[in-house]
Symmetry: C2
Subunit: 228 residues, 2 copies
């Protein structure tokens, strides 16, 4: 193959494009509601429109993109109600994933969690915070060891990422204190081997965030019934 074009047959151009667009959405480069044109993507990431279309279908199934037949694709945007539903789902699912990760909690893994929890207390950078927060929580999950739970939780995190970004910027100090305390309490519970408590902490943590999120309806677009 050509060495200039990075379109090397690595087995799947559509996977590569899907990953690139996914990251672009998660990083905030593509905003919710933004139109996505197939040809733009094929130019930008190389390849024809065929792998682009397959990538878009993949992202649609992950809830990151909205496809309308014969019309186009948009970055998925959520209403407050939809975002709240995702958080309620997380509240039920993530404790289960945590439980499934039990045998994975070695001392070194727990030390790493503690380190991340501490590190994210120090930063003032929003993007760094979001990244560390995600790292922390997924450090408490052994997503690879599961069949559906890992991917499911990842998807639920991904679809709500833009709103987490918008919301985290306007969190007051008091609630941020509670947020960090939850993390420390979770680490301690895992260190003590108290899975029951750990599950509860995760659930409460997610619920707390949801309730606070619901106090910020201004970051969500008007609830357009067509944009389901």
């Amino acid at each position: 193959m050509s060495e200039t074009t990075p379109a090397v047959r690595d087995g799947s151009a559509s996977h590569r494009i899907a990953e690139a667009v996914r990251q672009a959405i998660l990083s905030g480069e593509y905003q919710p509601g933004e139109r996505i044109v197939q040809e733009d993507l094929s130019e930008r990431y190389g390849g024809s429109r065929i792998p682009v279309r397959e990538a878009l279908r993949q992202l649609e199934s992950e809830g990151l993109v909205r496809l309308v037949a014969n019309t186009g694709a948009w970055v998925q945007s959520l209403t407050l109600a939809q975002c709240s539903e995702v958080y309620q789902t997380r509240e039920r699912i993530e404790p289960l994933l945590l439980r499934h990760s039990a045998e994975y909690f070695t001392d070194s893994v727990i030390a790493q969690m503690a380190s991340l929890a501490h590190e994210m207390e120090q930063t003032d950078d929003l993007e760094v915070f979001l990244d560390l927060d995600r790292q922390f929580h997924f450090a408490t999950y052994r997503a690879e060891g599961t069949y559906v739970l890992g991917d499911l939780v990842t998807q639920l995190w991904n679809t709500t990422q833009p709103y987490r970004r918008a919301y985290t910027g306007s969190v007051d100090r008091e609630h941020m204190r509670l947020y960090h305390d939850d993390h420390h309490m979770l680490v301690r519970a895992l260190r003590d081997g108290d899975l029951e408590l750990a599950e509860q902490v995760v659930a409460i943590h997610i619920r707390r965030t949801r309730v606070n999120l619901e106090r910020h309806p201004e970051i969500f677009p008007e609830p357009d019934p067509n944009t389901g």
Copy 2:
């Protein structure tokens, strides 16, 4: 292309093909582990291989099909552990979906549930039983009214459908009695407006089925670590 079918551009051949293959898998026409060749599907359902490929990607994301790059597609087959994980996930999710469906439980809807619960007690036909069982449970869910929960629960049901079929055939009378009793208890709880109890009944119902399922490892293939 076929000349009899005018290949009506209904907006999406891939959707049509995906739906057809999905039903073929759910009905048991395609068995878990069975190879799927793209050209066969394009011949069978009309159209070229492009929409077939998009349909397969769709089904892969739904967990019904397993794709391997440059190699092919297979009907997804689960190990006992994976199937059990799906049931554990359902156990946490479906009570939530039930709760979200609360305002939908009118008298007529509940009467319909009761009718289905009664009807499925009468049949001896496996396929009819499976169909009624699904109808009953989804009658207790207002899946369309949700953003993720409805699709998620549908997917979890779909991926485990072949094993539900294989397992239900070998259920003893005593357990079947408990299974029906769960249904009636659920209807009663909903009629009484006792959502708390209804959630518990659903969770116990799913757990009971999972535990019984785990007593039938013979319906699952050998746990091949490659077939993740």
